[in-house]
Amino acid sequence: MQFDLTMPAQLTSALGPDLLLMGGAMVLLLWSGWRRESDEHQRSVGILSMVLCVLTMVAVGYYAYRGYTASDGVIAVDNFRWAADEIFLIATLGTIAMSLDYNRREGITPGESHVLLLFSTSGMMILAAARDLIIVFLGIELMSIAIYVLVGLNRRRERSAEGAIKYFLLGAFSTAFLLYGIALVYGATGATNFLVIKANIVRFNLQHSGLLLAGIALLLVGFGFKIAAAPFHMWAPDVYEGAPTPITAYMAAAVKAAAFAAFFRLWLEAFPTLLSTWHEAVWWLAALTMIVGNLVALAQRNIKRLLAYSSIAHAGYILVAMVVGTSLGSSAFMFYLFAYTMATLGAFAVIVALGRAGEDNMEVEEYAGLWSVRPGLAVAMAVFMLALLGFPIFGGIGFFAKWYVLEAALKAPFPQTRLAVILVVTSVVSAGYYLYVVMVMFMKPRSSTAILPERAGGWTRAVVWGSAAIILIFGLFPDALVSLTQRSTPAMSKEVALRSR
């Protein structure tokens, strides 16, 4: 079935899963305000939010299964969107599950926190669908504003507030650049719809329009900030450290994925004809991000900061898939996103599981000898670290993700061999800190004064083992996932690939 997006009813249908999530979130907002704030209430809201997530996942799956398409319009109805949605929803699910335990421990009682997550996720789903710069802008804002709040959610932690203000100020600052970019692109092409922009660029021969180029540059800045690409990454470590750990996981996994999804769609659907123009900039962005992220991560001793830099580095790897700018790039991108999301979620879930109230034990060294007291968590964390490192079998799917990106880079019309080499060399650097975590857990003796971490909550453990299982199982049999992602390319990008050759 094809939706006609000019008809409001059909537009609504095309937005079914998104609306389901938004509507459900509103109901839950009412429900969370209904009772006095308490931990039990927070949990009930959380569990209902998870149910809503699952329902939305089912809806997304159904839409994908039915293979709906749509006329050209403000939103896209394609597999790229559904795949991205599922990733966001999985991340949200994991985040809420962790939050249930985390909030109890930290005394965070507002049930609205879960609702805000849901709203943020709906913003992401909009982002994944958006084919209009204005929708992109609003999606980003919808997502971000909720996150600003969520970062500062832990009112007892000064760090939480500090993270919030840093994220907020810089986020608003970067939004201004993004918006300026949108304005300039609009000015140059007279349109905000991706497909029209592409058509107009070709039609009016705008490849060298200063307005357009400046606009693209500023858009790159805006997206670069959201995905935490160097040199627009500097907020990330501080904010990741300050935010409550489940929110950090959410930012590292879902927010980044959403920004990437919009970024990818915009670039592939609106500016494919300018490949040679933006190619070099994205190339440098990718290279710089990989280098900076991995190098600075080496100096980290705080596990959350370490993972923050690691996530910066991974943004660089994903950018490699972008540089390729082909459908192979986009399926590699989707595969990578999935792998990265699972590993990041799992790693943060371990951190949640091992945290103590007040989160003052975020040093990696705190995990010394973890293997002897919590062998399961230690092994799971090792799996996540190896997955992030991109190691086969033990790191499961992480290796295939890297493989796929490398394959995409080398298969590109202009093979990105040098970028691939940078990727692998910086990956080796990353071994320095991923293995540092593993080393501390397995090879350092447990200090006699160390406190035995409490047994983690059931939900958190479920996240840990769920993501570990997914990573390992797909790490042995990735074929189903590969063929899924091969179909999850933006609807228009086939043409792109052809033209860029």
Partner: protein
């Protein structure tokens, strides 16, 4: 295809432009948040005037109401609430070296962005010169905004509603303060 503008129009355009720039410059150089806010309001007003001159009457009004009226008032409110006008808070700007560097960077940015001023817009896309005026005549100041807002940009409009809901919820969650946070 720039239309021909009357001298008086041009004069006023430049006048408000200069006021806006001057206020903005004064705004960024103030140390006191209150003074700064007031200079910013001044900039907003000048811009509102410019909007009106550019056939965006509704937006001009909104500028005054929303920006100058609501947003900036909230800013001032917070400044007052936190007692940020206190002299001890005023040594806020960075040193001269930083300022100079910032100015240089600003000049650099400006020179780069200025390519946009040289760009010609694609002629085929440009609506007739009196298009907005006609719309104004036909649909009045609100209607000419409302039509695209509720037709072409319905989705965006609905999203802004959700956005506001989120902002409110967020502000409440954050603002309930320590007392609420305690179990």
């Amino acid at each position: 295809m720039e239309p021909h503008y009357s001298l008086i129009y041009v004069f006023h355009f430049y006048l408000f432009g200069v006021i806006a720039l001057a206020s903005a410059l004064t705004f960024v150089t103030r140390k006191s948040p209150v003074t700064a806010a007031l200079w910013l309001v001044n900039t907003m007003f000048s811009l509102a005037a410019l909007y009106v001159m550019l056939d965006a009457q509704f937006v001009g009004v909104m500028q005054v109401l929303v920006y100058a009226g609501a947003i900036m008032v909230v800013f001032l409110f917070v400044v007052m609430l936190l007692n940020l006008g206190h002299p001890s808070e005023l040594a806020d700007a960075r040193g001269t070296g930083w300022k100079l560097a910032a100015g240089l960077i600003g000049l650099g940015l400006l020179s780069e962005i200025m390519v946009i001023a040289r760009t010609k817009l694609p002629q085929q896309l440009i609506v007739p010169r009196d298009f907005n005026e006609q719309q104004f005549q036909k649909l009045n100041a609100v209607g000419m905004i409302a039509e695209p807002l509720f037709k072409d940009y319905l989705l965006a409009f609905e999203l802004t509603s959700v956005l506001l809901l989120v902002a409110i919820t967020g502000a409440v969650v954050l603002g309930r303060g320590r007392a609420a946070g305690a179990r």
